[in-house]
């Protein structure tokens, strides 16, 4: 049961990264590749009907975590207080940037909301990557199960780290590059003409960087936590995950060269899935490791709610998510195909 809920939370987070990932990536690229007002409207229209639903994965994922592992939720959310609040402010700015830009036909108004959309998108990808970096690196958990992290201390991975240190910055850069490529693939797929070509070119240019930071993050992770390979060593089939990461990177390269936008988008989706699943498989059963004393680690065993809640939860959660996936398939089919220039902006 605990293993099941661990993976359900992991699936929700992966779903969020996969879906909101491409609209975050579109935001990162917004100012860079969309030059005219028409092009910027087109970028926004590619994500307009879906971004809000994508973001619900974050809310539902947070809710799932809260429900299944309240001790982790309490500890992590209060410990990462400052960066989470900054993430909330960025999400607010980004949401109004997307939705309010089109309301008034004025260069100043539109320029302001272009900034509200693009800059928070860039910062959010870095913060989300750094957040994952923090979970993998560990935090100075106290005996009562709580901790509090400053935004930065001495930028070193030690017993008293900050939210940002050299390791979590690497994780942030991985997320920035990976989601930018993912977003570029999405824009290439959903648009036509110059915009699509520029998106393709950016994705191609960033590919070597993604390869480099992926390897760098792997090296950095194993250098700060060599024991993260323990699960892999005891379950050899898990080594399929890094093979999958490598294969998806290779596929991304090949499909980019042949301008197969859909296949390239699928490759970056698979890359993100394997990276996140690989991380989840490495940390299990830990949910949050202590940098001071391994006996204080928050694990699935000490963070979960009671067995009755969890088994009843499985029924309604499964039912609800099946419905949700149904809506998603429906909406994405409704808005499938390339965005055309003719329709009025929302």
């Amino acid at each position: 049961m605990l293993l099941v809920w661990f993976w359900l939370v992991a699936i929700m987070i992966t779903g969020y990264v996969l879906l909101d990932g491409f609209d975050l990536g579109a935001g990162v690229l917004h100012l860079l590749i969309a030059k005219t007002d028409q092009e910027r409207r087109t970028v926004l229209r590619t994500i307009g009907p879906v971004w809000d639903g994508n973001e619900v994965w974050l809310i539902a994922g947070g809710g799932t975590l809260y429900f299944a592992f309240p001790w982790l939720y309490a500890s992590a959310f209060s410990g990462f207080y400052l960066p989470l609040m900054i993430v909330l402010w960025l999400l607010i700015l980004r949401g109004i940037g997307i939705e309010l830009r089109g309301h008034i036909d004025s260069p100043v108004w539109r320029g302001f909301f272009d900034g509200c959309f693009a800059i928070p998108s860039i910062l959010l990808t870095i913060f989300f990557g750094a957040a994952l970096g923090n979970v993998i690196r560990g935090v100075p958990l106290q005996k009562d199960g709580y901790f509090f992290l400053s935004l930065w201390t001495n930028w070193r991975v030690g017993p008293e780290p900050g939210i940002l240190d050299w390791y979590t910055v690497i994780a942030g850069v991985v997320a920035l590059i990976a989601l930018t490529i993912h977003g570029a693939h999405y824009i290439a797929l959903k648009t036509s003409g110059d915009l699509s070509l520029r998106a393709r070119r950016i994705a191609g240019l960033l590919w070597p960087a993604l390869l480099l930071v992926t390897l760098l993050s792997l090296w950095a992770t194993l250098s700060i936590h060599p024991n993260l390979l323990d699960n892999y060593k005891s379950h050899v089939f898990l080594f399929a995950i890094p093979v999958g990461v490598a294969a998806s990177l290779l596929a991304m390269f090949l499909f980019q060269r042949r301008s197969k936008d859909k296949a390239a988008f699928l490759s970056s989706s698979i890359y993100l899935i394997f990276m996140l699943v690989g991380a989840a498989a490495a940390v299990y059963p830990n949910l949050l490791v202590s940098t001071t004393d391994p006996s204080l680690n928050i694990t699935v065993y000490n963070a979960a709610t009671g067995p009755h809640s969890l088994s009843v939860g499985l029924v309604f959660w499964g039912f609800g998510m099946a419905l949700a996936i149904g809506y998603f398939v429906f909406v994405y089919r409704m808005f499938r195909g390339k965005v055309s220039d003719g329709e009025s902006a929302h």
Partner: protein
Amino acid sequence: MESALLIHRLHFAFTVTFHYLFPQLTMGLAPLIVVFKTMAMRTGNENYNRAARFWAKIFGINFLMGVVTGIPMEFQFGTNWAQFSRVTGGVIGQPLVMEGVFAFFLESAFLGLFLYGEKRISAKAHWWSAFLLFLGSWLSGYFIIVTDAWMQHPVAYERLANGGFQVNSFWGLLLNPWAILQYAHNMSGAMITGVFVMSGVGAYYILEGKFQEYGRIFLRVGVIAGVIFCVLQIFPTGDLHGKYTAKYQPVTTAAMEGLFKSETGAAIVILGQPDEEHQRIDNPLVVNKVLSFLIYGTTAAEVKGLNEYPKDVWPTNIPLLYYSYHIMAGLGTIFVGVMLIAVLLLWRKKLYQSRWMLWIIMLCLPLPYIANTAGWMTAEIGRQPWLVYGLMRTTEGYSKTVHAGNGLFTLIGFMGLYTVLAILFLYLVHREIGHGPEPEPENVHTLAKAA
């Protein structure tokens, strides 16, 4: 320590109060938009479709504000109220996760289709997307009320060995009687916001002498729905909720009513200022025996005053609780009066010409926001000093690791950001009301260009 508690309470109070300004209109407008869509399909009158589109635009701006201010709410359970989340996550995590998977996914999926998909889908499919949006927003409200109702009146739980709670009955939690009463009262309150905004805009159009045809539609729908929900708000929902509160939170009722000492045949205080030091109401305007009658159905019953309870279970801010309750109840009574007169004039076919009444309806527009806010303040201040009634005190629930300095920093940040949101919201809604429900000049413009 104490200052951190205060900051965390203000943090949640400020963000939730600001947030709820938006969902109440979302939930209040959604069914009225479905009414317009239905009338358009039944009568074939295109004006109803234009009315629906006009309100959909305001709905869209309002919904966006609700979404962006709503996300922080779920986070704050963990960031600012970590100990509360740790102990009660096994219970209130359930409605919160259900809200995500059952309501938010539904709403977000059909919002895009409703706002941007009218040309892509059939009229029937568009009606359905409006209906499912209404369903999603009302479901979302139910799960939040279940969460709050458990904090007001905990049911269907058991203690775990680690000190936390878990649910022991899925339906017991979802069908908490408190939740059902509170939901009925709250949703009727949201409808009141919806109808006053709609009829207020209608009255404004007629007084201003523009979009008069739409002004009449808004007034007619707003006033007819208005009289229904203004009455439902008091009877039976408010009445039952009040009796239930008196039964399970009698000390809260005593504080709400400003009843410092027990009274047989207790009088109800209409106006007056509670003086905690001398334990009395200054400048009281009272109606004899009515309080006993309202709670127990007989003028002879004894109502227990605050003097019967130890001070450590008294609500922590009695004057604020007393005023919140009196503002809510007072406004609720005024709403019934306004809507009854309006519907009478409508029936006698005099409403659209009665400028004095149109002025009153227009000026009432902001009042339901105040009444709904005051109602929630009554519920939440009335729950004090408990975070979970009888089980966990508010002083035990906040995040001990987040000191007052960090809390104040983010509270100031939210205040600044929300000020910007409020300005944007008012500006954009004002603009939409100015444009009115006629076909958009922008479309005319593009057509002209195309020609």
